[in-house]
């Protein structure tokens, strides 16, 4: 369970920031951070076992028929990545707290961040490739939200879209590849797949699967030619860049290659595709990085380059190279995240990240300068920092690997990559921090507060410590992770000095010398760079995407032209056509059910329903009359339910009817009172034809259904048999609602609550400054008003009725389990009783006397229902299992107590709250439209013998 919990914690934590932001930014950051810290702690508890070489597993069957199980496992590789994700995540949460501006919605940011964190942890802990794919796509989605966090910036939106298109597209390819892999092996569990190297590599489908999976990995890890999205994703806030684009998401592709390494690596195909791609990416991106003036742009291309380096190492397919790759993943995460955060600090303080406008920050920002220097030197591979250690090992591996039988090509190109790396790393320091102090910074820079530099400083500290004591601080983790990647016992030996005869030494020296030389020639090189035409990735990308987007919007505009009537007509005809086709081609038995005799009274009810329906069609332009006619139909339907032995339905229908009509009347107050004639008679004929087709079809279907017996025995038999014995109630319908199908009801009250909140939110939006608000303020009643808005007789009558109506409500509620009634009906009755007071004395007068918050009512209803359901767990039963017993309290008779009653209280409260919230929202609109608020219950007070003047009435 604990592994699943580690993956679930960030997702659960994602719910908190939105709430906690109300308690302030610090509280929000602390709560978010604690969730991550808790996940990190749980991970740490598992670490000793993993380091001993065990594999920790959690297996949860989810959809076994699809091979989709929520299986998690933790080995050295997972430990390394999960540690990076959660550890750096914690630092990023701290950093973001101080980085984000006052105007940025911080709760939203943390929510996105936690979603992303959960998805990443899910990827690295998944033991099921289908599950892994789900998390994989979730990272694409959550990173989309993060990159586009500054929604007002077009670059942010475009960058987010580009990242989603590229990584999401790669993800689709990977799904295909993974499915092939699962088919070859016959299982979707990673631990099974990893043991079937021979079967996979011997399969004809090996190459397609390899290419598809690599497409996913390369797009995610920004490998050439898919690297272009990463620099554009730099439009994201810096904490995002530091987290996603240096330490975690872009490494997901590397993780996947490392994870699949045991079964996919070691073939020539793997070597040439992966190693070559990595090599090209490394050299090309390093060169571009040298010519980027934007600090984050420089770091972005540098990241692409380092990702290429790690990809290349994994591509070599040797155990040694894979071990170095793992080591470099650790080192890169430390120095690159520190650098990103430092770039953010510079941006934050100097209000620019442009190297051309910076320089001389060394004395102005000494702390930032120190951090940047340490991290940059590590990136350049200067001893004794950790970047040096892994770079030496990399160069060593490259020097010993032949490409197409060419023994020196890889070594030379890797050295060139390292050379550029030295050059841009030094440029970061030299052009940003060295040189004379300038007087034209957009803002006077100085070191930020501790909160902002603490995270990068910690990482810079790690850079030094790992660099000085690699065997003590990193070797154990490298051993565990590389052991998991390669499936072999690893005992890595990391040292600073490999001897004079090691090629890496000379390659390193060449790289440092050449890099410094390049930096010296930088102005001239830059001029050449700017003069050379080169492909603009964004233009190419847009060129490819644009026609598709244009086609898609043409298509959807043509299909979806905004004419509701057209959709309904097409939809109705399509359904009728499909139904007729099904009837015509299917087989059906003839109806044998005995028909019921027609009695005169029900026939009269039918007649009034039909007449009212006809009248609605004829007189629908007179809206008030229409509502009256709807009332007749509703009444007839209720009576019909009662006649056909469904008393609960009759009660529900009649009370819903009242609430609906009141609601519509209130709304109609502000709407036009008549519908103008707009359609031609041809159009009306056509519409009528469609309507008749639908009506005849439905009538025929209903008739056909009723004259036949059910094809299968209804499951109602079970409900009838178990209602009393199992559910403890004799009202079977109610027992079904609160017990047998309690889950449905639970879902339903949630929907009802959401509907009420939607109404509230709509009202809020209408009452905000805007055209709707202007119209309301200028609203003049278009009907003549009654002279007496709150007639005394109505007021007195409703006052008298209130206690009776409430009593009826309670009665209907209490008897619901055994007699017709229940929470729904009682809720409606109570709501109507309250609404009557509103109608009689006005909204404000009533609201002032009835201090119940309807939101709270809805929420407590849902919560009570949920708590009742959860209570069953403590009984060792599934969610929502009800329990009941019989008690006697003198002087009452023996009566029943059932948890279902509690559940029904939840239903009751939600219904009352939802109905009242809807009606109260309409009243608020009325107030805005100039309805007066009266302080007296009625306008004409007989005890004073005069009409209250408007002053008093207000």
């Amino acid at each position: 369970m604990s592994l699943a919990l580690i993956a679930a914690l960030p997702f659960l934590g994602a719910l908190l920031p939105g709430l906690m932001i109300r308690a302030g930014k610090n509280a929000c950051a602390i709560v978010t951070g604690s969730v991550t810290a808790l996940a990190l702690l749980l991970l740490g508890l598992n670490a000793p076992a993993v380091l001993r070489g065990e594999v920790v597993q959690t297996r949860i069957e989810w959809i076994p028929s699809l091979g989709l199980n929520a299986n998690f496992f933790l080995d050295g590789l997972g430990l390394l990545f999960a540690g990076l994700i959660l550890g750096i995540g914690l630092l990023i949460i701290l950093y973001a707290r101080f980085y984000l501006a006052k105007s940025d919605p911080m709760g939203q940011f943390y929510t996105y961040l936690m979603l992303f964190q959960g998805a990443m942890v899910g990827i690295v802990l998944s033991d099921n490739i289908l599950l892994l794919l789900v998390f994989w796509e979730l990272t694409s989605l959550s990173s989309f939200l993060l990159i586009g966090y500054w929604k007002h910036l077009p670059e942010g939106r475009q960058g987010a879209r580009m990242a989603l298109t590229v990584t999401g597209g790669g993800g689709l390819a990977m799904i295909a590849g993974m499915l092939i892999l699962g088919n070859i092996v016959g299982s979707y569990d990673l631990s099974v797949i990893l043991e079937n190297k021979e079967a996979i590599q011997a399969s004809d489908w090996y190459l397609p699967a390899l290419i598809l999976i690599l497409l996913g990995a390369f797009t995610k890890s920004a490998q050439f030619p898919f690297h272009f999205w990463l620099p554009h994703a730099m439009a994201a806030p810096t904490p995002v860049s530091a987290y996603l684009h240096s330490a975690t998401m872009v490494k997901a592709g590397l993780f996947l290659m490392a994870r699949m390494w045991p079964v996919l690596a070691g073939t020539p195909e793997w070597f040439y595709i992966v190693a070559t791609t990595g090599l090209v990416t490394m050299v090309m991106a390093a060169k571009i990085a040298l010519f980027k003036d934007d600090l984050k742009g420089l770091l972005a291309f540098s990241t692409v380059s380092h990702l290429g380096l790690i990809t290349m190492l994994l591509g070599f397919g040797t155990v040694e190279a894979a071990t170095v790759a793992v080591f470099h993943i650790i080192n890169h995460a430390t120095f690159k995240a520190a650098l990103f955060m430092s770039a953010g600090i510079v941006d934050h303080e100097a209000h620019t990240r442009d190297l051309k406008r910076l320089g001389g920050l060394r004395t102005l920002m000494p702390i930032t300068f120190t951090i940047v220097t340490i991290a940059s030197l590590s990136m350049a591979g200067i001893p004794p920092l950790n970047g040096f250690l892994s770079k030496e090992l990399t160069l060593e591996e490259a020097a010993h690997t032949a490409w197409m039988a060419n023994p020196w090509l890889l070594g030379v190109l890797a050295t060139i990559g390292a050379l550029f790396s030295v050059a841009y790393s030094f440029r970061f320091i030299a052009h940003g921090f060295l040189g004379p102090v300038r007087d034209d910074y957009p803002s006077k820079p100085h070191d930020p507060g501790f909160g902002l530099w603490a995270a990068p400083a910690l990482l810079a500290g790690l850079v030094v410590v790992i660099g000085l004591f690699p065997m003590l601080t990193a070797a154990w983790l490298v051993n565990a992770a590389a052991g998991a990647v390669t499936g072999q016992e690893i005992a890595v030996k990391i040292s600073h000095w490999h001897g004079l005869y090691a090629p890496a030494l000379w390659m390193s020296l060449a790289a440092i010398g050449g890099g410094l030389l390049l930096l010296g020639m930088h102005p001239r090189l830059m001029a050449m760079w700017l003069a050379t035409p080169r492909p603009e990735a964004k233009r190419i990308f847009d060129g490819i995407i644009e026609p598709f987007a244009a086609f898609a919007s043409r298509l959807s505009n043509a299909l979806h032209d905004g004419a509701l009537t057209r959709y309904i007509a097409i939809g109705t005809l399509a359904i009728a056509g499909a139904a007729y086709y099904a009837f015509d081609t299917g087989t059906h038995a003839i109806g044998t059910r005995e028909l019921m005799a027609i009695h005169p009274v029900p026939a009269l009810g039918w007649l009034s329903l039909i007449l009212a329906t006809l009248a609605i069609v004829i007189y629908h332009r007179q809206r008030l009359l229409t509502l009256v006619l709807v009332g007749i139909i509703g009444l007839m339907v209720s009576v019909g339910f009662a006649y056909f032995s469904a008393p609960d339905l009759a009660l529900t229908q009649i009370s819903v009817e009242v609430a609906t009509i009141i609601l519509m009347l209130l709304a109609l107050n502000f709407l036009p009172k008549a519908t103008p004639v707009e359609s031609t008679s041809l159009r009306r004929t056509w519409d009528a034809a469609i309507a008749v087709i639908a009506g005849v079809g439905v009538a025929a279907l209903a008739y056909a259904l009723m004259i036949r017996d059910p094809a299968f025995t209804p499951i109602s038999e079970f409900h009838i048999a178990n209602s009393k014995s199992g559910g403890g109630g004799t009202n079977i319908v109610n027992v079904i609602l609160v017990d047998f199908r309690g889950y449905d009801t639970f879902g339903e009250i949630i929907v009802l609550g959401i509907a009420a909140l939607v109404i509230f939110a709509l009202t809020e939006a209408l009452l905000r400054a805007g055209p709707a608000n202007d119209r309301l303020l200028a609203w003049r009643p278009d009907q003549r008003r009654a002279g007496d808005r709150h007639p005394m007789m109505l007021v007195v009558a409703t006052r008298l009725m209130l206690p009776i109506a409430l009593l009826v409500g309670v009665f209907i509620f209490l008897r619901g389990h055994n007699e017709p009634g229940g929470g729904f009906i009682a809720g409606l009755i109570v709501a109507i009783a309250l609404v009557m007071q509103y109608m009689a004395s006005g909204f404000a007068w009533t609201a002032a006397r009835q201090k119940v918050d309807y939101h709270a009512l809805v929420a407590s209803g849902v919560l009570i229902a949920a708590a009742t359901g959860i209570g069953a767990w403590f009984n060792g039963m599934p969610f929502l299992t009800s329990a009941f017993g019989y008690v006697t309290i003198w002087p009452l008779e023996e009566f029943e107590l059932a948890t279902a009653l509690l559940f029904d209280i939840g239903v009751f409260l939600t219904v009352v709250g939802a109905v009242m919230l809807a009606l109260a929202s309409l009243s608020r609109i009325g107030l805005r439209a100039g309805e007066t608020v009266n302080v007296q219950p009625f306008d004409i007070d007989p005890s004073e013998g005069r009409t209250l003047n408007s002053e008093e009435a207000r």
């Binding site: 004419a563 329906t613 629908h620 819903v656």
Partner: protein, 117 residues
């Protein structure tokens, strides 16, 4: 009796669809309400019609009307109230925002090709 109920369902459906094909919000809402009646009654009839049967359980009852469709229709009635309330508010909001209550969007309302950049 079955024919009466079936024809009532048909009439409500036809009237509902006809009103939903009108061009103002209010008739569309009324049409939807009528269609809701039709659908609820239709669902109810899937338990077949019966008169004079007890609504509640007792050990000596001869038979029961089918309770399951009743329970489902009961929730459907309440949900359709919620839905009606929401679309009534949407219609009201649309009218107040736009100043008219037409349901079909005209050319000015059509989204710009290509959407937001």
């Amino acid at each position: 009796m079955e024919a009466l109920v079936a024809s009532a369902i048909g009439a409500l459906t036809a009237a509902g669809i006809y009103l939903m094909l009108r061009q103002r919000t209010f008739p569309v809402i009324i049409g939807l309400t009528l269609l809701t009646y039709a659908v609820n009654v239709f669902l109810f009839t899937s338990g077949r019609l019966a008169t004079g049967l007890p609504g509640i359980y007792s050990s000596n009852a001869a038979g029961y009307s089918d309770p399951l469709p009743q329970a489902l229709v009961l929730t459907a009635i309440v949900i359709s109230f919620g839905m009606t309330a929401v679309i009534v508010m949407m219609a009201l909001g649309a009218f107040l925002e736009a100043g008219h209550d037409k349901v079909d969007m005209n050319d000015e309302d059509t989204p710009v090709e290509g959407g937001q950049k």
